[in-house]
């Protein structure tokens, strides 16, 4: 599956069909496969196709969140008094799979105004620019959505 994906990606990227370039492309595809095999990427069902449609819906939701919180941070930055109230929030996430935890941590960091400080097992430590942002994270909306990604 991944091999096909990589091959298509190489063809789209280069757009050339000379023998030398095709051989180089095949070589790098094989290299990536070997490296990801050695990283045990195939032990998890990370590349499951059924994840993709859910992932795209999750991205759409995440994009809305990013726009909303970008506006929030922009308002804070441009206001004269700089009304920040930095808050460190700690909570236990519901998602257990390592990939899910990585997605959740990265999503929190990607959203302006919240920043993942550390992940220890289920325990997330999150730094928020405002108290309101910390409360939003602890509501667990994002955690719930990430946990649903893998449930069938």
């Amino acid at each position: 599956m991944l091999a096909v994906l990589l091959g298509v990606a190489w063809l789209l990227w280069s757009g050339f069909f000379k023998p030398l370039l095709l051989a180089l492309g095949a070589f790098s595809c094989v290299l990536v496969l070997i490296v990801s095999y050695r990283m045990h990427l195939f032990d998890t069902d990370f590349f499951a196709l059924r994840l993709m449609s859910r992932l795209i819906r999750y991205w759409a939701w995440l994009a809305r969140e990013v726009v909303r919180s970008s506006m929030e941070v922009t308002r804070v930055v441009l206001s004269r008094r700089l009304p920040i109230s930095p808050t460190v929030a700690e909570f236990d996430a519901h998602c257990e799979h390592p990939v899910d935890r990585a997605i959740l941590g990265n999503s929190i960091t990607l959203t302006p105004g919240t920043l993942t400080l550390s992940i220890d097992g289920q325990r997330f430590v999150v730094h928020a620019l405002t108290e309101k942002g910390a409360r939003d994270i602890m509501d667990g909306e994002m955690d719930r959505r990430v946990s649903q990604l893998r449930s069938r």
């Binding site: 990265n106 920043l115 400080l117 620019l129």
Partner: protein, 109 residues
């Protein structure tokens, strides 16, 4: 098509430029490392997305647009990863976030 395309892409590019500017101002105004990273993340997300979107509209439906979309995707995956590395190593280095705390009420009754 040319005129309309130009207008849309200029709106996107200007919006992206605005958010990059806001990120820069925020980095200068914020008091410490963690709050500065919040300001910088506006540049990472909205700035990068809008600027790349603007270029994509300029490129039109072509191979270049797909490549730009891929760049955006990779950027959106790698930038929070590096932010996390920076924030976590700052925490390990003992830089205390000057902040109030809020713990989950459920498991600390």
């Amino acid at each position: 098509m040319g005129m309309f395309q130009d207008i849309v892409s200029w709106i996107l590019l200007t919006g992206g430029g605005f958010f990059v500017l806001v990120g820069g101002i925020g980095v200068l105004r914020m008091p410490n490392l963690y709050t500065r990273m919040h300001a910088a993340s506006v540049t990472d997300t909205m700035g990068a997305a809008l600027v790349l979107g603007g270029i994509m509209v300029q490129a039109g439906p072509s191979l270049a647009a797909i490549k730009l979309a891929a760049i955006l995707l990779f950027l959106l995956i790698t930038s929070p990863t590096s932010s996390y590395a920076l924030a976590h190593s700052a925490l390990l280095a003992g830089i205390q976030p000057d902040a109030g705390r809020a713990a989950d009420p459920e498991d600390h009754p």
